[in-house]
């Protein structure tokens, strides 16, 4: 439909005389056409004047009283209405309270969460530390265990050597350099397995080590193992006797550089009596 077609409907619409379908189509057009809307407004003003074609008539005076009483009642019920209107406001306030409550709850939850995280993190740290400590302890104990087993093993070895029917024992005496030192050297004459037990040796300087020497008769010294002593000057050292030293050899301990020497260079600390 053209604008013109809509315009031709306006007079009848001002009288509400269009059929429903036409009226609906025109109303849709009026939403977008201000020109037609203005035109319709003027035509409705004209149609409204038709009211004057009716004979004016006076209603009974009670109607006025009823209307005024009605609006007073309406106004008195206004508080109800305004309460009703206030409800959204109140509920808005309540909603605000709810919002504040929710935000507060969220903030508390966040703080609680952070505290929880920190507590857990700290507990975690503590547990890690404890675990690390325990691990260290286990390590230490393991090492101690290994050491103990080592010591035990050596002692067992020493016992085995000492109990052997082929065992031969040699007493070592401290020299001028270490007068309080003494030691025992026991070896199995068959297997050559031996053990050195020393005590009273001075603490080993950090860059030095004691070295065991086998000096068979008529031979140059043969290097044995190097070792250090603990704080009390004790040492227990498993050893394998060189076959050359089995028959008749002197056992001596010297202080050598840390990595040991091929030939003795330092002072003799312990020595078996020369036969």
């Amino acid at each position: 439909m053209e604008h013109q077609d809509y315009q031709e409907l306006l007079e009848l619409h001002a009288l509400d005389a269009l059929d429903v379908s036409e009226a609906r189509v025109l109303e849709a057009h009026l939403k977008t056409c201000t020109e037609c809307r203005d035109e319709l407004g003027q035509l409705r003003d004209t149609a409204g004047l038709l009211a004057h074609a009716a004979d004016p008539a006076g209603p009974s005076p009670e109607v006025r009283s009823r209307i005024l009483a009605g609006i007073s009642a309406d106004k008195q019920s206004q508080p109800v209405v305004s309460t009703a209107r206030a409800i959204p406001l109140k509920s808005r306030a309540e909603r605000n309270v709810w919002m504040i409550g929710l935000r507060l709850a969220a903030a508390i939850a966040l703080v609680a969460l952070l505290v929880g995280v920190i507590v857990l993190w700290r507990r975690d740290m503590k547990m890690r530390l404890e675990i690390a400590q325990l691990a260290r302890q286990v390590n230490t104990q393991q090492r101690e265990l290994v050491h103990d087993r080592d010591v035990l093993g050596r002692q067992r070895d020493a016992l085995a050597i000492l109990n052997s029917p082929n065992a031969k024992k040699m007493e070592l005496a401290g020299t001028q350099t270490a007068q309080t030192a003494r030691g025992t050297f026991v070896y199995d004459q068959k297997t050559g397995r031996a053990i050195l037990m020393a005590e009273g040796l001075p603490a080993t300087p950090t860059d030095k080590a004691y070295e065991l020497w086998f000096i068979p008769k008529g031979h140059s010294p043969m290097a044995g193992r190097i070792f250090t002593v603990d704080a009390s000057g004790h040492a227990m050292l498993p050893e394998n006797m060189p076959p050359e030293a089995m028959a008749n050899a002197v056992i001596a301990i010297t202080l050598e550089p840390k990595k040991g020497s091929a030939v003795p260079t330092g002072a003799i600390y312990l020595s078996s009596p020369s036969s």
Partner: protein, 189 residues
């Protein structure tokens, strides 16, 4: 407001009603009760029903005065539209039509002595009646059927036994003529 309500414009009166001014509503009633009651009575032909509707109309005016927008039409048109719609709704409601039979007995003649009524008859009514009298009879008839009986173009065609397009043309021509005739004096009414 009570002192010289007649000097207040219709627009201001409705704006005051919208603000909850009861005196403004009373002034509005006093100003328009005769024309509006006449209109409603003309539609319903029953005083009792017409008074009920008039009361409904002013309660609606009281509650909806805030909806009145002077940019979209005159205050008088707004009031009259409410009265006519309410009356036509009542007319269409079941039971109202049956009372049309005794309309003659109910027709109002009681308040003829009202001075304001006489004044109305002599001014606004005269102008509109004169304008209507200048329309051809068939045009005038369609307008009055549409306005006071709330009939659509199709219903009018059926009532008069005329083709729909003829009825449309008559109604359009009648409205255009009426607008021409009342145009200059419209603001006086």
């Amino acid at each position: 407001m009570q002192a010289e309500p007649s000097q207040i414009s219709d627009n201001d009166l409705l704006h005051a009603v919208a603000r909850g001014d009861e005196l403004a509503l009373a002034a509005c009633y006093d100003r328009y009760r005769l024309i509006l009651f006449g209109l409603i009575l003309r539609i319903l032909h029953d005083r009792q029903e017409a008074e009920d509707v008039l009361q409904e109309v002013f309660l609606q005016v009281w509650r909806r005065a805030g909806d009145f927008d002077e940019a979209r039409g005159r205050a008088f048109t707004w009031l009259v539209t409410i009265a006519r719609s309410r009356a036509l709704d009542r007319l269409r409601a079941a039971g109202s039509r049956t009372r049309l039979s005794d309309q003659a007995a109910q027709m109002p003649r009681a308040e003829v002595g009202d001075a304001a009524l006489d004044a109305l008859k002599s001014e606004q009514g005269f102008i509109v009646r004169t304008a209507l009298a200048e329309l051809p009879e068939d045009q005038r008839k369609t307008l009055l059927l549409a306005y006071f009986e709330g009939l659509t173009q199709t219903e009018i065609a059926a009532r008069l036994g005329d083709p729909l397009c003829t009825v449309k043309t008559r109604m359009r021509s009648g409205m255009i003529k009426l607008r021409e005739l009342l145009g200059p004096s419209r603001d006086l009414i």
